[in-house]
């Protein structure tokens, strides 16, 4: 079975040119089938029931957690908390991390709004100070001068592994080394990396690593906060309720051990099961093979877009290692008009600020067009994109050159 044949949405929409994988991935049949089987034959509330079906549900749920930890090479010092998505995982950290007045939080300017906004709110609430690590929209490495913003007062540093707007791949290890000198923790938003390339939390030495299941062929509604136990131990619960408690009396409560302390209420077991199935699908294809394919598609897109006289490609250069997404501008056509006109040819891309307004402002851009790739992207998809750009230029009254 080819990669394309694994995705039923491409059968339902034979003419769809889906180039918005970075927003959400399509789902392989095996993931959908596994979730159907869960609800048809296995559904029960985990953790509580004394009966067989519930005990099995507990095992299935915990197996999914183990699969996630293995997939990101979390090591024995870290665990995973299931959340709704990467955004909820980031809100959890921002809310529960024990910031004190005067603490400094350092965030990469290229971070997604889901990193920046929760930390803005946390800073206002706790009296911590939010500072930015400025990057140039091309390079993912850091000079000592850039890292000077990390200092003795820094408590947490947050950055993407691959940024959402331009696809820059960041040298997280160097940031971690600098943070360690000052005793600061590091949070890595890996939403655009997990499922695209091998990600090792141990190798990155990150304290927190977040990602969404739906961007890696899993279902919407399940995400992961992977974190070192030593970090989670100093954090208060985020959401409270059932399942996250040990003893509850009229006036006080003792909490369940980590990671359950951070999983209040009946969890999205069907989602965790689907994520587990997505990991199995990725493992069966081989993450290295997927990474190589996406790199080839990204290179092809960069070549085709760069040679187009009306297109300006933003972000990392051709030879640089990067994420499987390309941001570009088309002369004389606003990104939103571009996306609408491409849609007329069945081509789905993203237009706008890509949830990175401070980054766009920093780079003096109102928005860009973004095409993003996955296992099922083929060269003909990118050829269609180029033809779609020509069509749009024609509608707007321009010639090819």
């Amino acid at each position: 079975m080819t990669w394309r044949e694994s995705f039923p949405i491409l059968k339902a929409h034979p003419d769809l040119i889906y180039l918005d994988h970075a927003a959400t991935a399509q789902k392989p049949q095996v993931v959908i089938d596994r979730m159907t089987a869960w609800y048809e034959t296995e559904n029960a509330s985990p953790n509580r029931g004394a009966y067989g079906l519930s005990a099995s549900a507990t095992i299935t749920y915990e197996n999914a957690r183990e699969a996630v930890l293995k997939f990101i090479d979390a090591g024995k010092d870290a665990t995973a908390v299931f959340t709704k998505n990467a955004t909820e995982a980031l809100n959890l950290v921002a809310y529960a991390y024990p910031f004190k007045p005067g603490d400094e939080i350092v965030v990469a300017i290229s971070a997604h709004h889901s990193v920046i906004v929760p930390l803005q709110i946390a800073a206002k609430r706790t009296g911590a100070v939010l500072k930015y690590l400025y990057v140039d929209g091309v390079h993912g490495d850091f000079s000592e001068q850039m890292l000077a913003v990390i200092g003795p007062k820094t408590r947490l540093v947050a950055l993407p592994l691959i940024d959402n707007a331009l696809g820059v791949l960041y040298d997280v290890e160097t940031v971690v080394k600098k943070a360690r000198q000052h005793g600061a923790a590091v949070l890595v938003d890996a939403a655009q990396a997990v499922g695209h390339r091998p990600v090792s939390m141990q190798k990155l030495d990150a304290d927190f690593l977040v990602f969404s299941g739906h961007k890696m062929y899993g279902p919407q509604g399940i995400g992961v906060l992977a974190a070192k136990y030593e970090q989670l131990e100093q954090m208060t619960p985020f959401l409270a309720g059932g399942d996250m408690i040990a003893y509850v009396t009229e006036q006080s409560t003792t909490y369940a051990p980590i990671p359950k302390r951070f999983e209040a209420g009946t969890q999205n077991v069907g989602g965790a099961v689907g994520l587990d199935a997505a990991i199995q699908w990725i493992d069966a294809q081989g993450i290295e093979r997927i990474a190589e394919h996406e790199a080839a598609m990204t290179r092809y897109a960069l070549l085709r877009l760069s040679e187009h006289p009306a297109v300006t490609v933003l972000g990392p250069k051709l030879t640089m290692e990067r994420g499987a997404l390309v941001s570009f501008e088309v002369e004389g056509i606003h990104p939103h008009d571009m996306a609408t006109l491409l849609d007329q040819n069945g081509i789905a891309i993203r237009a706008g600020h890509h949830c990175c307004q401070p980054y766009m402002h920093h780079l003096d851009k109102a928005g860009t067009c973004r095409a993003s790739f996955s296992a099922f992207t083929e060269e003909r998809d990118i050829d269609a994109l180029i033809m779609g750009i020509d069509h749009a230029r024609k509608v707007f009254g321009y010639d090819r050159s």
Partner: protein, 148 residues
């Protein structure tokens, strides 16, 4: 996939010509409209004398739909009294919501009828209505001024 072609000649002509895109001397109103999600950022300038829109223009940047819409609107409302302009804006909003409007209203909207399919494009409706929102906000201010 959207089949209806929003990018008609009239819209592209207004997007390209820029004849209404300039500052306005003696302006009595400047109303900025902003669509944060797509970066459309347009300001409507009006010179209102004795309840009549004597002259209008816009400045700023945005997509073809937002710029064409505000430009077509400016051609329509120049010389109009504020009440008529407000009624026309309400007709435009009804049309942009996909509601049926009277044949008289359709006729009055003239080139703005190029946006009659925008209700079928939920992601772009706000591009088409941005300029008209600037207009109603300006008129609301004027009315408030009169009360004071």
């Amino acid at each position: 996939m959207t089949d209806h072609n929003m990018y008609s000649e009239i819209i592209l002509m207004h997007n390209r010509s820029g004849h209404n895109r300039h500052a306005l001397s003696g302006e009595t109103h400047a109303e900025r409209g902003h669509n944060p999600s797509c970066g459309d950022d347009l300001t409507l300038h009006l010179r209102v004398v004795d309840g009549i829109i004597e002259s209008a223009s816009y400045t700023g940047s945005g997509c073809a739909l937002s710029q064409a819409s505000i430009s077509i609107m400016i051609d329509l409302i120049t010389g109009m009294d504020l009440d008529s302009a407000k009624n026309m804006a309400n007709d435009f909003f009804d049309m942009a919501r996909g509601e049926t409007i009277s044949p008289e209203a359709e006729e009055a909207l003239q080139d703005a009828m190029a946006f009659q399919n925008i209700a079928k494009m939920p992601a772009r409706t706000k591009c088409g209505t941005l300029g008209w929102h600037c207009l109603t906000a300006s008129i609301a201010e004027t009315t408030a001024d009169d009360v004071n």
